[in-house]
């Protein structure tokens, strides 16, 4: 009997889709309107199903109105209140001149809402736009409303677009899985369809398999779940790897300037984080000016901020070197204290000038949004930051290897006194190096303004991580810094799912402390006499 019933429904739908108005369908629609008037939840739900299957010309209007609570019924009359405030007769679709009296809004509960969702999906399945059909199929997939099944099957038969057909098939599978009276063979096939879909939703649908399933179906379900879970775990690992690379590139940006100054001058610059902060605030100011004066240039704001941040942070760096650090040569620990003092002053200066609260830095169009690559969700801003970090790294490498200044810097790093004896003005190199390192920190600030809060404390939150990167990677070797930043970033993100964010970080800190015992000069130590000094 149920089979016969569903056959009849299918038949009815097919005929409806062919737009053959029949007396039977007209009667069915009339039945639906009567049920709507009864204002009981089960009747309403049933009425929605009937409306969808009868392909009543007003079905979409009526169901949408119902969803919004704009459907009024009472005493056999059913009216739709339009969004503009007018009234329509639900049966004929003709405008009513006056507000019908004695009608009340048809009430909804969660079950009815679910049916409505399914029904609206069912109506969208025959939309001429393939994109809309896919969206409708997705809605059906989530609602899993059995009554849409006939519409769905008819739609599949007609479907020509591959993507839409797949979405429709998946929606059908989702319904079949939940439908206990469907043929077992179809349900096993449905499990296969979901297995191929292989995402979180498919997993949830498979898990929701009713308890009555046959052993064969259960086995297929278990296999499919295992396979999907395996696949998802792989994607998750990939996603974590991506996050790790992204974090690594942020660390690289923050630490590479530090690595340069430390390598050449043997000085840990505690104010390095504040250079990052200055870069971020420069970005903020550039954007404010652009917003106020040249709103059309907004998408270029970061491109303009990059040289500005480099110059601002670099100039402050040179000023610090000339003003304080050069008097403290050969006393690295004192330098550490003095630069810490400078960092306090800079923080407080920024706090006084801009206030202690976070400043909003906007994202240009090309940096906002995300896209999906297989099972990976990739945000544009992270992608661009990785690209930016790579560019900065390449540029620094080029400066160090290809320019006369880089040559002199390397000479000073390896043996300061010998370099001096060869006629290199080490003082000038120190100032330029410090300016370069600080300027790079400013560039990091531009990038960080896109993913972190621009506040006076911005630098503080990165300084310890930057130290770890430099100490781990070794001094005077940019590749060491790159490898160190990337491995710390990836390790951090891979540990996070197992240990939690905080424990993961603690584990890394402990690891670095132990690592330093083994290799006191980092991964890639400079060899030579100078480092023994």
């Amino acid at each position: 009997m149920p089979f016969l019933f569903s056959f009849l429904r299918l038949l009815a739908v097919v005929m409806a889709l062919l737009a053959v108005p029949t007396i039977a369908l007209a009667q069915a629609a009339e039945d639906a309107f009567t049920r709507l008037g009864a204002d009981s939840f089960s009747d309403t739900a049933r009425a929605i199903d009937i409306l969808v299957q009868s392909a009543h010309p007003n079905a979409a209007v009526v169901i949408e109105a119902l969803a919004d609570g704009r459907l009024l019924a009472g005493g056999g009359a059913v009216a739709v209140k339009t969004k503009e405030g007018g009234f329509l007769d639900a049966r004929t679709g003709q405008a009513l001149t006056a507000a019908p009296a004695g009608l009340n809004a048809v009430r909804l509960n969660n079950n009815v809402r679910r049916v409505i969702q399914g029904a609206l999906g069912g109506l969208g399945l025959i939309n001429p736009d393939p994109g809309k059909r896919v969206a409708a199929a997705e809605a059906v997939f989530r609602a899993r409303d059995v009554s849409v099944l006939p519409v769905l099957e008819a739609a599949i038969a007609k479907e020509t677009d591959n993507r839409a057909r797949r979405a429709l098939r998946e929606a059908q599978a989702a319904i079949l899985i939940a439908k206990t009276d469907a043929p077992p063979f179809d349900r096993i096939a449905a499990v296969d369809v979901l297995r191929e879909r292989g995402d979180q939703d498919a997993l949830a649908t498979l898990r929701a398999l009713p308890g009555d399933a046959s052993p064969g179906l259960k086995e297929a379900q278990a296999r499919a779940i295992a396979e999907i879970e395996g696949k998802l775990a792989l994607w998750r690992a990939g996603q974590n790897l991506w996050y790790g690379l992204s974090l690594g590139s942020v660390l690289l940006l923050a630490a590479i300037g530090l690595a340069i100054t430390f390598g050449v001058m043997g000085v840990i610059n505690m104010a390095h984080g504040e250079m990052v902060m200055l870069g971020a605030y420069t970005t903020f100011i550039v954007q404010e000016v652009i917003r106020a004066r040249f709103p059309g240039l907004f998408d270029w704001s970061l491109a303009i901020a990059i040289p500005a941040a480099f110059i601002v942070a670099g100039a402050v760096g040179v000023a610090i070197e000339r003003g304080v650090i050069r008097f403290l040569y050969g006393r690295p620990l004192e330098t550490l204290l003095a630069t810490w003092g400078i960092s306090l002053i800079l923080q407080q200066a920024v706090r006084t000038a801009f206030g202690p609260t976070n400043r909003e830095v906007g994202a240009p169009a090309f940096m906002s949004g995300a896209f999906e690559l297989g099972g990976l969700a990739i945000t544009w801003n992270r992608l661009w930051i990785i690209v930016f970090a790579a560019l900065v790294f390449a540029a620094l490498l080029a400066i160090l290897k290809l320019t006369p200044m880089g040559l002199q810097m390397r000479a000073v790093t390896q043996n300061r006194r010998m370099a001096s004896a060869m006629g290199i003005r080490t003082g000038r190199i120190d100032a330029l190096t410090f300016g370069l390192g600080s300027g790079v920190a400013g560039l990091a600030g531009v990038a960080l303004s896109q993913i972190d809060n621009v506040s006076p404390n911005l630098g503080q939150s990165y300084i310890i991580d930057s130290f770890m990167v430099v100490v781990f990677g070794g001094v005077g070797n940019l590749w060491g810094t790159l490898i160190s930043a990337m491995s710390l970033g990836v390790a951090n993100k891979l540990l996070e799912p197992y240990a939690g964010a905080v424990l993961g970080k603690i584990a890394l800190l402990v690891f670095i402390i132990l690592f330093i015992q083994k290799r006191p000069r980092g991964l890639f130590a400079l060899k030579g006499r100078a480092v023994e000094a």
Binding site: V267, F327, L333, W340, G341, I345, A349, I516, P520
Partner: protein
Amino acid sequence: MITRFLLSNMDKRGYAFLAIVAAIGLLVPLANLLMPAGSPLHVSTATMSLWGKYLCYALLAISLDLVWGYCGILSLGHGAFFALGGYAMGMYLMRQIGSRGVYGNPVLPDFMVFLNWQELPWYWYGFSSFPFAMLMVLAVPGLLAFVFGWFAFRSRVTGVYLSIITQALTYALLLAFFRNDMGFGGNNGLTDFKDILGFNVQAQGTRAALFAMTCVMLISGFLIARGIVTSKLGKVVIAIRDAESRTRFLGYRVDRFKLFVFTVSACMAGVAGALYVPQVGIINPSEFAPANSIETVIWVAVGGRGSLVGAALGAVVVNWAKTVFTSGFMAPYWLFALGALFVFVTLFMPKGILGTAQGWWESRKRPAPVPAPEPAPAE
């Protein structure tokens, strides 16, 4: 013999310091307890607690000076030892609350009841006993310093590298203690203390006794540190500061000397923390913040690195200045002042207040001083 060890080579400055601290430790509690509130000689309980806090910091500064000023190890993690001592004391005080907590649980502290813990974690056992807790005040920081130093000094991690990993150490502890799962009260730390040794922590008499105890400990800490640096062992330690490799080549086991001094110093910092907690009334993870440890370094630098009296003086002066600054209209500018202090002291007063004053005094006595050879910079 011990007296001779402690008082040998004591100079005038040392005696003056001992006399002043002893006088403060005796007179301030008396002035607080015996003088009527209106009297000009009266010291309010709040002021006394405040100065008690400064003196705890002074002890911390002495402990840091012992490793930095005399052994050349710039520890940026001494705040961690201080906080660990404080936590050990805090755990004792928490256990003394008993069933008077908000939830009235006789065994579990309030925060554990709040987190639905069923029983006391094993590492809380024994803390209801005062002697055990005091042992832990020494043992926990001492053990951590011993293990950390064992690894670091044997593998010859020196200079900025050592500073950075001590900072990583305190940062890791900061993160760890922020976690609720650690069982140390998470973010809020330990507070709401009631009794210490059966006396109400809030009571005036207890406060006065704690203050006097702080002075006693400061004197003991000073004498121990003084004893170490003036002994033969101290000579080796200073030699390590000035020329580590040379000392090693002379046949001394540099790592063992460093380890000894570092461990003693950590225990001393732990005691300072333990005295700090009942007077301030709370211990929370922010004590582990790397910035705190760096601030301790600046106290020592301001007072005079390599002079125990100077370190104590620096701690009191800087913290007093901080209180004055941050309570008035100048509050927003405190960080400017502190930052400028860092820069000024390192640039212009490398010997701190005391060293500079001494140099000035000596140059007045001898109009044409022979410039003493600068000690080689510590790494």
